[in-house]
Symmetry: C2
Subunit: 316 residues, 2 copies
């Protein structure tokens, strides 16, 4: 038995053939040159076609196709309600892809898919109560309770990037103000660095990239913090402080056996990772924090395609 | 089929015979004159004995006994780890009560039991994804996902009173600082009022109770707020602000179809209830807050005994 797992990001899509044990048999990555729903559908269909040509027996044994999408979905209807990175709103992507592939397609939030992958073949193996938090360009999470995904009444559970940390605070991509993501998501970290670098107290940060503010990244921020730049330290500690408190409180209310941390920003920013671990260890409730094991995601970019494929299998 | 539901509070215990449809057949309330585990066990056993005498057929058809306890439990072991209102620590209460009653006993957190009661015969009927928040002398919650209780890895999920709202802030009964409960739980609201009333800016509040600070209650606070006392308003709005933000964020990450609000403080404090409703409607994430129905708990004091009884039935 095989399933097809697709991870649809903002710049690339990845398609993988995955077996029932969650192993990737073959995979392809394709750049999204154009981001219209039609072009993305076409690009994915071509990649899948190529995968099937390279693996002639796979199509016959295929029993599901799951797609992880970075955005808010109406999953039962196959609808992408809002996908900021793609610029999509109310796109019937499930239906479109299903027609192009000639196979039933299920949509999942990208982090739901990644969490499911980590649970079954990654950092969560053997665990029944798990919380997954990803900090990349956005901030998201997934909750596993007693081995099952907590989806919420409308599939929106886990929208951790949009908890409010400063009511009325920084503008977030979701249209609201003061969301966690508006402080610690990769795009927003960079935007805050650019704002800082344009001010007198940001001169050290500006010089660090030779005045080219496009070179500012979360990694550059951590370098500056490590070397003692007080303005960079203030920015970093505010952002990480919001993240740590929110994650600690999340652990308090959910009492996971394991907290799995991942995402492009968190995996490249060891100071953030370290301070987040300390934050959970001091700010979580006493019993919950003593009993949670904090680990890093183990599958990297593979978690999304593996999880989407496993979720698409019958009775996941 | 009947089950026995017991609600063990800090000052009283209530025992009820409940049928399989969640109806209370008969109930007794007994004052806890002494709070040692032995005395409480004896008191409950006597009440249960009396219930069985009043309902001679019930004992034969009884198929479970559930106890809701205000405290942190190791439920599988029948252990009460910490029950601040009773002054208990690591009490093997499940075993003790089981021996005294001659029937198997299951322990549950009191709010878990109350939420289960509301779900099945109260404000949550027909709902599969529900969040229950109670503000009484303490603050607690329970999470229902797809019709199942989210218990967490060690039965500690829903410890909402101990999310941190002001790191390093007010001392909480749990031993930590800055918990939500330390600002908005009934005991702590009163303590803050007493602190305020002892200061010059609290003179209006002090006069309101004729100088007798023991008469200060959350209801008195709301009277003062309504009549324009600025110091009372500041205290109230800080406490309710913390509560509203925390509940809104809870709704964001869990996406419940219904948020059920209850507890002695919340049900007696209409301003708090109103501001909490507004807070959720403005601070929850856009999609989650538009789709959550905010309602009041419907069963009052009955929810705890009903829920404990239903949870104790086989395959609840």
């Amino acid at each position: 038995v095989h399933a097809l797992g697709i991870d649809l990001g903002g710049t690339h899509a990845r398609a993988a053939l995955v077996d029932a044990q969650g192993r990737i048999v073959d995979s392809l990555r394709s750049k999204l040159s154009e981001r219209t729903p039609e072009a993305v559908t076409r690009g994915i269909a071509e990649a899948v076609q190529q995968l099937f040509q390279q693996n002639p027996h796979a199509e016959k044994t295929m029993s599901g196709c799951g797609v992880g999408v970075a955005g808010q979905l109406d999953a039962p209807k196959g609808l992408v309600k809002v996908a900021p990175n793609l610029g999509w709103r109310d796109v019937p992507f499930g239906q479109m892809l299903q027609q192009a592939l000639g196979h039933p397609v299920k949509l999942f939030n990208d982090l739901t898919a990644a969490a499911w992958g980590e649970l079954h073949v990654g950092a969560g193996r053997g665990i029944r109560d798990m919380l997954v938090v990803f900090v990349g360009s956005g901030v998201g999470s997934a909750i596993i309770s007693d081995g099952r995904l907590v989806r919420g009444a409308h599939g929106l559970a886990g929208e951790f990037g949009h908890v409010k940390v400063v009511p009325g605070g920084r503008q977030c991509g979701c249209g609201e103000k003061g969301c966690l993501e508006a402080y610690v998501g990769g795009h927003h970290l960079i935007a805050q660095m650019q704002e800082l670098a344009a001010k007198p107290e940001g001169s050290a940060l500006r010089q660090r990239v030779g005045g080219d503010l496009k070179k500012l990244t979360p990694v550059v921020l951590e370098d500056a913090v490590r070397e003692g730049d007080p303005a960079a330290q203030a920015l970093h500690s505010t952002a990480v402080g919001h993240l740590a408190l929110a994650v600690a409180n999340y652990v308090t209310v959910l009492n996971p056996a394991r907290l799995v941390l991942g995402g492009g920003v968190l995996s490249r920013c060891p100071l953030m990772r370290e301070q987040l671990g300390k934050g959970v260890a001091t700010l979580g409730s006493l019993l919950a924090r003593q009993r949670v094991e904090v680990v890093d995601a183990a599958l990297g970019d593979d978690s999304g395609v593996i999880g989407a494929a496993l979720l698409a299998l019958p009775n996941p």
